[in-house]
């Protein structure tokens, strides 16, 4: 596999990097648009509805129209907000989500992956930075709903990050590396880690749902209680970036899940990028399925759930893995 | 088992912690007793290994004469503090975390005493410090306690940042954090990067200065001492200080044994400032705990005096310096804990820390009055007490290594300290104007504690051979 580390950077390869990054950016935007479309369509089917079908064939351009609508909306900055923080909060939230994609290996020969040694940790670190964006946005809005929403969101993301990180340790233990490419390589040699790490996989799935603030853990944005959570005061394209952040993370988390538990791009017959796409789609669809099926949890159940159930489970998984690994 | 004492104390700490949340009802003082048993066991282990050959697990933590002496010192003061706590927790409402936090702090202190790697030394220091911050502020309903804790925390964190920054330079120019390797590298380091070596030395000294409440890094001391529960105050004054001195001694002596005299002179200057300022600002204090806090600042200055001489003395002569430092620390532990014990009894009796609470103590409880007299005279450095001998020993050091000006300051400032120490004694023997006097109530535990401290103070003053003899045989410098 070709990666950046084996050659010195020249202007040419720099240009290549730039082009690749732009491609990834565009790809991401497309993926986000169509995962939103897929969400509406899929949930529609589950609920025996048709879903979007007016804009474009099968409604395929629906999301594009939504985005354009947001772009031409007036940019309202309320009077009482802290202007500077209010304006930069979406950026703070968005940038790390996009950066997180840089370590996800999309395919075997994918050249735009930063093959760094601490890939998984890097991802976790970035997802923690987004919390700052959310909190700053909520605080700067000077709105009680936004404040409570952002606090809840932060507390929840923090709480679920612990079991998430712990469950990844199990995989790292199996592979002996934090580098995501090495983890995929490890799965090529044996089985997909979803088999030995089934407990870790379950914890990861649940924790990532919480981390992404998705149903059943979507109370930061519980519209019946908190209007729209931390982005209550946001409108137009600033709001769009918060939404974008969420879905980029969904994509990134799908990529991470595929990499950690499903062998990433590896698989027989099909090309790597397709395998990756299929596996990511499985995760994304799973999320939408859960969203359509589960009711929202009560706020006083969510946080204790992360600490009292998921964390011990993750620790248990870790110990079992380590012991088995040492014994076998 | 080179880490015996540490493991025993840590295990006890966790056992107590678990038992604490299993048994949540009733009188839980047996947990403190259990902790004391653990400390005693650790003390036994430490004494068994007292003369062991220097061995280090993973080249990091182990035993050598240095570790032995300071471990015994730390464990003894831990025992005294726990005994103190045993009485304290019966009388006032402190959370049970108190007990095992002390144990964890002791683990940190032991690590500081017996580690030869900057990393573990630093971690030990922080374990001690963080536990101490919480211990000071353990009474969360008391504004004084919390404020003292915050000041201590801020200053302590500042100190550790400075210390760490200094350590990073030393690591940078030597490429190792292991003191054994560093001790060989000192001279080369110094000749290649003199400026960085000096910066590293000073930062480490200043960083430890915050923990040791050396002037001018002592600002937190009176507030933290006055705010903390009294057993914890005595903990800060003795155990924490002893461990920090041990760590400072180990770091400076191992790393900077080659660069020579003028580096260590800085320690002398700080010692001089500390002695002078510490004693003078103590003069107007009326709050007994604050006064003891300032007096402990001054005492830290006395103990720092021998540090100034490591650069001058040949390493063959260092044994005397080590001996005098550790002797003074032993002496200081007994007399300080004793003094705090009596201050605590008075505080509880009168509900005030004003030194007027001392008035009539002799009438009320002659035995406690005499005990306090002994402690105070020892702190002031009067003959036949441990304090005098400790000071005298340090003075002889200064004499021998031509640093007599420090010795002169030492004794001259102790004369200043007479003023406030004797001010106490004056009140102790003053008559209370009331006709009817009641004895100061003290539990058997407190009587035991005071008695132990009296015995310690007097024994070290009258039969110093008890301690000097074991110290004398130790091969401080080895390898």
């Amino acid at each position: 596999m070709w990666n950046w580390a084996t050659h010195p950077v020249s202007w040419l390869s720099f240009l290549g990097m730039l082009i690749g990054t732009v491609v990834i950016l565009l790809l991401t935007l497309v993926v986000v648009m169509y995962s939103i479309y897929w969400q509406r369509k899929f949930i529609g089917w589950i609920q025996l509805r048709i879903g979007p079908n007016r804009v474009g064939p099968f409604g395929l351009l629906q999301t594009a129209a939504d985005v354009f609508k947001l772009l031409i909306k007036e940019d309202i900055i309320p009077n009482k907000v802290d202007r500077v923080l209010f304006m930069i909060a979406p950026i703070i939230a968005f940038v790390p989500s996009f950066m997180a994609l840089s370590v996800i290996p999309f395919s075997r020969t994918h050249v735009f992956t930063a093959n760094i040694a601490v890939g998984a940790l890097f991802y976790l670190a970035l997802s923690a930075i987004t919390i700052h964006g959310v909190m700053i946005g909520g605080w700067a809005s000077n709105n009680k709903y936004a404040l409570i929403g952002s606090m809840r969101s932060a507390a929840q993301m923090l709480s679920f990050e612990i079991p998430l990180g712990m469950s990844i340790v199990g995989v790292v233990l199996m592979a002996g590396s934090i580098n995501l490419n090495d983890i995929i390589a490890g799965q090529q040699h044996s089985v997909w880690y979803i088999i030995p790490q089934v407990l870790g996989c379950i914890v990861f799935l649940i924790a990532s749902t919480g981390e992404l603030n998705r149903t059943p853990f979507d109370l930061p944005e519980a519209e019946s209680e908190l209007v729209a959570g931390y982005h209550t005061e946001y409108s137009g394209f600033r709001f769009a970036f918060f939404m974008l952040t969420e879905y980029v993370y969904l994509f990134a988390m799908a990529g991470l899940f595929a990499t950690l538990f499903l062998g990433g791009w590896s698989g027989p017959w099909l090309p790597g990028w397709l395998w990756f796409a299929i596996k990511a789609l499985i995760y994304i669809t799973f999320q939408f399925w859960v969203q359509a099926t589960m009711p929202r949890m009560r706020v006083d159940k969510v946080m204790p759930f992360a600490w009292k159930v998921l964390l011990p489970l993750a620790l248990f998984n870790l110990v079992i893995t380590a012991v088995l690994k040492a014994v076998l | 088992m080179t880490m015996g004492p540490m493991i025993v104390v840590a295990a006890t700490g966790f056992v107590v912690m678990i038992l604490e949340f299993i048994f949540r009802k009733g009188d839980r003082r047996w947990l403190t007793v259990l902790s004391m048993l653990g400390v005693v066991a650790a003390l036994v282990v430490a004494i068994i290994h007292f003369n062991a050959k220097p061995t280090f697990a993973l080249n990091t933590i182990g035993v050598d004469p240095f570790a032995s002496v300071f471990s015994v010192l730390i464990l003894i003061s831990a025992l005294l503090v726990l005994l103190f706590t045993l009485d304290f927790s019966a009388k006032s409402d402190v959370p049970a975390e108190h007990t095992y936090l002390i144990l964890f702090a002791v683990v940190g202190a032991l690590t500081m005493a017996s580690s030869i790697d900057l990393v573990t030394l630093y971690v030990g220091l922080e374990l001690l410090s963080v536990a101490s911050y919480v211990l000071v502020a353990v009474r969360t309903h008391s504004i004084r306690s919390v404020e003292g804790g915050i000041k201590y925390m801020l200053m302590g964190a500042l100190g550790s940042a400075v210390l760490l920054y200094g350590m990073s330079f030393i690591y940078g120019i030597s490429g190792t954090t292991n003191l054994m390797n560093l001790s060989g590298a000192g001279l080369q380091m110094f000749s290649t990067y003199p400026a960085i070596t000096v910066i590293g030395f000073l930062m480490m000294l200043i960083g430890m200065g915050f923990k040791l409440s050396l002037v001018p890094f002592h600002m937190w001391t009176p507030d933290a001492y006055a705010g903390a529960p009294t057993p914890i105050t005595s903990f800060l004054a003795t155990l924490s200080k002893a461990a920090s001195f041990g760590m400072l001694l180990r770091m400076l002596v191992f790393i900077f044994n080659a660069p020579g005299a003028h580096l260590f002179y800085w320690a002398g200057i700080i010692a001089a400032i500390t002695m002078i300022v510490g004693n003078f600002i103590a003069l107007p204090q009326r709050n007994m705990k604050r006064l003891l806090a300032f007096s402990s600042v001054a005492q830290a200055g006395y103990i720092l005096v021998p540090f100034a001489m490591f650069g001058i003395a040949q390493s063959a002569d260092w044994a005397g310096l080590f001996d005098s430092i550790s002797f003074y620390l032993f002496a200081y532990t007994f007399m300080t804990v004793g003094a705090f014990a009596i201050v605590y009894l008075l505080e509880r009796d009168k509900g005030s820390l004003d030194s007027d609470a001392l008035i009539g103590l002799y009438q009320r409880s002659p035995w406690l009055a005499v005990a306090l007299t002994i402690f105070v005279l020892s702190l002031a450095g009067m003959p036949l007490t441990a304090g005098f001998l400790g000071k005298f020993y340090i003075f002889v050091d200064t004499m021998h290594f031509s640093t007599i000006w420090l010795g002169v300051i030492l004794f001259a400032t102790s004369v200043v300290s007479f003023y406030y120490y004797i001010g106490w004694l004056r009140k102790v023997y003053q008559k209370e104007p009331v006709a009817e006097v009641t004895a100061l109530s003290a539990s058997p535990i407190m009587h035991t504690l005071v008695a132990v401290c009296v015995i310690g103070t007097l024994a070290l003053g009258i039969v110093p051979a008890l301690l000097l003899h074991p110290l004398a045989g130790l091969p401080w410098i080895y390898g």
């Binding site: - | 911050y133 920054y165 990073s168 490429g175 292991n178």
Partner: protein
């Protein structure tokens, strides 16, 4: 050592560390809000971390112990900040303030 395309000299990294340290020290000594003071102290610790990591790759005798040290430092800093925040919380409950100048009860 990795031949960095634009090699980062040791000096500038150390200068960064020193700058951070000085900013932190300045903040710790002059700021009035306790949380800012805590953050400043964290800056100082991180300055030391930068030093350690720099030296561990680019020092006189590069070794891994610098990185290990900085790992420990991070943990310690986390513990310190945890305790610090807890104490601030306790203070706020009692005094409704988090200003340095209000830490004056011991003068009364």
């Amino acid at each position: 050592m990795g031949a960095a395309p634009f090699p980062v000299p040791t000096g500038s990294l150390l200068a960064l560390g020193a700058l951070l340290f000085c900013i932190g020290l300045f903040g710790a000594l002059t700021k009035r809000n306790l949380i800012i003071v805590l953050v400043s102290i964290e800056l100082m610790l991180n300055a030391a971390n930068i030093n350690l990591v720099t030296f561990s790759r680019l020092g006189v005798a590069p070794s891994l112990s610098g990185q290990v040290f900085s790992l420990f430092t991070m943990t310690v800093a986390a513990a310190e900040i945890a305790v610090g925040l807890a104490l601030l919380l306790a203070l706020f409950r009692l005094r409704k303030t988090s200003e340095v100048k209000d830490l004056n009860i011991h003068k009364w």
